[in-house]
Amino acid sequence: MPPKAPTRPATRSPITSLLKAYSEQTPDRLKFIDAFLVFLMLSGVAQFLYCILVTNYPFNAFLAGFSSNVGQFVLTASLRSQVNPQNRTEFKDVSPERAFADFALGSIVLHFFVFNFLG
């Protein structure tokens, strides 16, 4: 599931500060990744709604389409956390290049299964 924005009785200031902090602290690269993430999330939500509101038949196609979104999302999110300079200490064995290679490999495997499952 793509994370939903936590809905809580927040005042205006935390959100704005959050957005502000985000736009200030985040490198462009990560912003680009985030854009991709948002796209995936929207696509996933759309499919989920279509499944619930219209039809879940054929179920395998829904699962394939939806999990391709989810899978791509988490792989991209993984990439994001791996290339995030803040997390350098955690990923000593994983250089950004290595992370990207991992990401590409994982995605290719994922898409292989997606298209196998789709039809």
Binding site: A10, L63, G71, V74, L75, S78, S81, Q82, F103, L105
Partner: protein, 782 residues
């Protein structure tokens, strides 16, 4: 610095490292050789033959796969199984095993090595046991070091608990599944350690292989989420966990759904919900972490914390709600029987009737694990001592698998690798301590002490990092263990790596070391002897062929099963339907190549109950059932002559129970006991028991064998009453040499339309009572 024994001093570091790795490779290959060799007892004692029951089906399926190709295999509908329902084989099996053999077969044939598919099947399990040893080595290496890995590999190679499922000829899913289990776990640990999506994806791919190979994949499906969950609860969430788990789950779940038998289960059944829940939770936590990294407000964090809890509770609620709404299938009976050992007996006799599903007896732990039973807890305790993420995994694995192994005999198999790993850690620590040539000197090597202390008391944040720090030292330490003659500078490093506290209260002198090590090696030697003995005597019997020793000590082979199956194959019509209890279904299909009513794939309880009812009813009741199912032959296993205790009379109560589950009015278990509540077959047996088809078929003409002497059933130690039962609706067609297999032919309806009993009476020359016109007077007068 003093040493307990002299060390060669003129060795360069490179020499030591090279020698160590050479010795490691040699040791691993020797372990592989030992693992394979000890599994060949079955082939040497008997022959290259497929064992037991399920392997016969796997073998048959593999032959189809090898001869017709994968797509035909996938779409294989077997009309001869579960006659007349048939079985959609392609959609109801885990094809991993057959696919593996098929690939090996095709590769060998591509290289013009004309190996018979049967030999591939027979030798697949020993081959994979070598791979298991390697995977265990890799896994343990991640936990401790290479030396522990080698020990673990040696243990798993010869431990009877694993051999019992992987001797040559035991061509079953477990044969490859344990390798996949260990390797998936290894990849998971690796992915978690490095935070690598690559290893996560690899773990997912092997998970896919595992799903395709064994129904026990649910163990992985739940172990990894539980591990992740425990780490989260311990406050050890990290991005590495997120990366490893997410990549594993996303790819693994999608891939597991490609297996037709699994289908949509990963999103539909409760067994898989834990994995999904943890996945969702990780997303939420990751998001929260992201937000927190940008904002640092205490109140905000609190809100976030509660938000997470609310979402978590909501998620669980949603799962429960969906379960009630029927969207998610509730837990299956087999799953319940894991929690309540009495459940199966009460509700699903068919599960309880399988001996593999009985709770484990204590002696079998010792028999299967021997020495490792005692080392195992020590190893788990040592895991607590370090308690990095991967140690948490082993601890959880140990707890869960121990419980399951206690509940069900067959789950001993999943416990065994964990026991081997933990024991290897314990034993390796012991040997490190006692082989280490460094004498303790209280005031030496402060740095080492602090370093090691760090790793023990390491906080959640730094624990795993400190584990990585002495990596190089560790490698060398392992080298030192593997190659005892090491140089002085190395000895220092040994001390540094294997723990500072020992420096204060350590081992002095050579005698202590020698004594302890001598004992250890003695125990290991006994372990090897035990394993060899158990393997050769208990676990190598194909159970298709039985062995006994004649009074003069020479071995005697009892080959009744194959004798009977080949009789069927050669003397009956190709579409003659054979009814037997389901245990023998796969064997009949595999060896006799005849349609069967029920087999070891016990998917249709009603059909099995029908067979149970036919077996437990009188001839008159059974006959219409037999005719309706086009049964031509009935096969029973009878051990009374030889003393073969696994026969059908001993399984008979389960047939009755299963039949009673479906027809409680017609079959009642109590009727088959004597008034005193005993299960007997002698003259005190109840009338219903004596009239049941099973009793009659087992003891038909049995007393004739003894002439005037009392006929003694050597399994039940009871005397069979004379005269022997008579059969009207069946003809004895075949009885094997030792009477183990008896085959009866079902008579056709009488061609004059009489009931068969009176037809038989006529054949016997009995006169019929004179009849009268049935018509009434009025009609006659018309």
């Amino acid at each position: 610095m003093s040493t307990a024994y002299a060390l060669p001093k003129d060795l360069s570091r490179a020499t030591v490292v090279n020698t160590a790795s050479l010795i490691r490779i040699v040791a691993l290959s020797l372990i592989s050789g030992a693992a394979i060799a000890s599994r060949l007892f079955a082939v040497i004692n008997f022959e290259s033959i497929i064992h037991e029951f399920d392997p016969w089906f796997n073998y048959r399926a593999t032959r189809v796969l090898a001869s017709k190709g994968f797509y035909e295999f996938w779409n294989w509908f077997d009309p001869t199984a579960w006659y007349p329902l048939g079985r959609v084989v392609g959609g109801t099996i885990y094809p991993g095993l057959m696919a593996t053999s098929g690939v090996i077969y095709n590769v060998l044939h591509y290289f013009n090595l004309p190996v018979d598919i049967r030999n591939i099947c027979v030798l697949l399990a020993p081959g994979f046991s070598a791979l298991t040893a390697w995977a265990t080595y890799m896994f343990t290496k991640e936990l401790k070091d290479e030396s522990a890995g080698l020990l673990a590999a040696a243990f798993i190679g010869i431990v009877p608990g694993y051999i019992s499922r992987s001797v040559a000829g035991s061509y079953d899913n477990e044969a490859i599944a344990i390798f996949l289990l260990m390797f998936t776990f290894y990849l998971w640990i690796k992915a978690l350690k490095a935070g690598s999506a690559f290893f996560g994806t690899c773990a997912a791919v092997f998970y896919f292989y595992m799903v395709a190979a064994w129904g026990g994949y649910a163990f992985i499906t739940n172990m990894i989420p539980v591990h992740a969950m425990v780490l989260i609860l311990m406050g050890r969430y990290s991005s590495r966990l997120y990366v490893a788990y997410s990549s594993w789950y996303a790819v693994g779940t999608l891939s597991s759904m490609q297996v037709p038998f699994v289908g949509f289960q990963p999103v539909r059944t409760s067994e898989h919900m834990a994995a999904l829940g943890v996945f969702g939770l990780l997303q939420i936590i990751a998001f929260a972490q992201l937000v927190r990294s940008h904002v640092s407000s205490k109140q905000f964090n609190n809100l976030l914390f509660y938000g997470v809890i609310v979402l978590g509770v909501g998620g669980v609620g949603a799962v429960v709600g969906l379960t009630y709404a029927g969207w998610i299938a509730p837990w299956t009976g087999r799953f319940y029987s894991l929690w309540d050992t009495g459940y199966a007996k009460k509700y699903i006799p068919i599960i309880a009737s399988v001996s593999e599903h009985q709770p484990t007896a204590w002696p079998s732990f010792f028999m299967d694990l021997q020495l490792l039973v005692f080392l195992f807890p020590a190893g788990v305790v040592l895991c607590f001592k370090e308690l990095r993420d991967e140690h948490v995994f082993v601890i959880i694995y140990a707890i869960v698998a121990s419980y399951f192994a206690g509940v069900m005999v067959r789950l001993m198999l999943t416990l065994t690798p964990c026991v081997c790993v933990a024991s290897a850690i314990a034993l390796s620590t012991l040997m490190d301590t006692y082989i280490d040539p460094v004498q303790p000197e209280a005031d030496e090597d402060e740095t080492a002490q602090s370093d090691a202390g760090d790793s023990v008391s390491g906080s959640s944040a730094t624990g795993s990092i400190s584990g990585a720090a002495p990596k190089k030292a560790k490698k060398l330490a392992a080298a030192a263990v593997a190659a005892p003659p090491s140089a002085n500078p190395l000895a220092e490093l040994v001390g540094a790596a294997t723990g500072g506290p020992r420096m204060k209260k350590g081992v002095w002198g050579f005698d202590t070391r020698f004594t302890v090590l001598l004992h250890t090696f003695g125990m290991l030697a006994f372990f090897v002897m035990h394993c060899t003995y158990v393997t050769s005597s208990a676990y190598s019997s194909p159970s298709v062929v039985l062995a006994s020793t004649s009074p003069d000590g020479s071995p005697h082979i009892i080959d009744d099963f194959r004798e009977a199956y080949y009789w069927l194959r050669q003397n009956t019509k190709e579409d003659a339907v054979v009814m037997s209890w389901w245990d023998y279904g796969y064997q009949i299909a595999g060896m006799a190549d005849r349609p069967t009513l029920v087999d070891n794939n016990t998917w249709n309880n009603t059909h099995i109950a029908t067979v149970g009812k036919a077996m437990s009813s009188s001839e008159e009741v059974a006959y219409p059932i037999l005719r309706a199912h086009d049964v031509d032959y009935v096969l029973v296993i009878f051990g009374g002559l030889l003393g073969y205790s696994g026969d059908d009379i001993n399984k008979f109560l389960w047939m009755i129970r299963i039949a009673q589950g479906v027809w409680p009015e017609e079959v009642q278990e109590a009727n088959y006991f004597t008034p005193g509540g005993e299960y007997r077959v002698d003259e005190r047996a109840s009338k219903i028991m004596k009239e049941s088809l099973m009793y009659k078929m087992s003891y038909y003409r049995f007393t004739e064998l003894y002439g005037a002497n009392p006929a003694q059933d050597r399994v039940r130690q009871q005397t069979i009453p004379k005269p022997s039962p008579t059969l009207d609706y069946l003809d004895e067609a075949f009885t094997s040499e030792n009477w183990i297999v008896r085959i009866y032919q079902v008579k056709k309806e009488d061609h004059l339309g009489r009931d068969i009993k009176s037809a038989n009476a006529f054949e016997g020359g009995k006169k019929r009572k004179r009849g009268r016109p049935a018509v009434g007077r009025r009609r006659a007068m018309q």
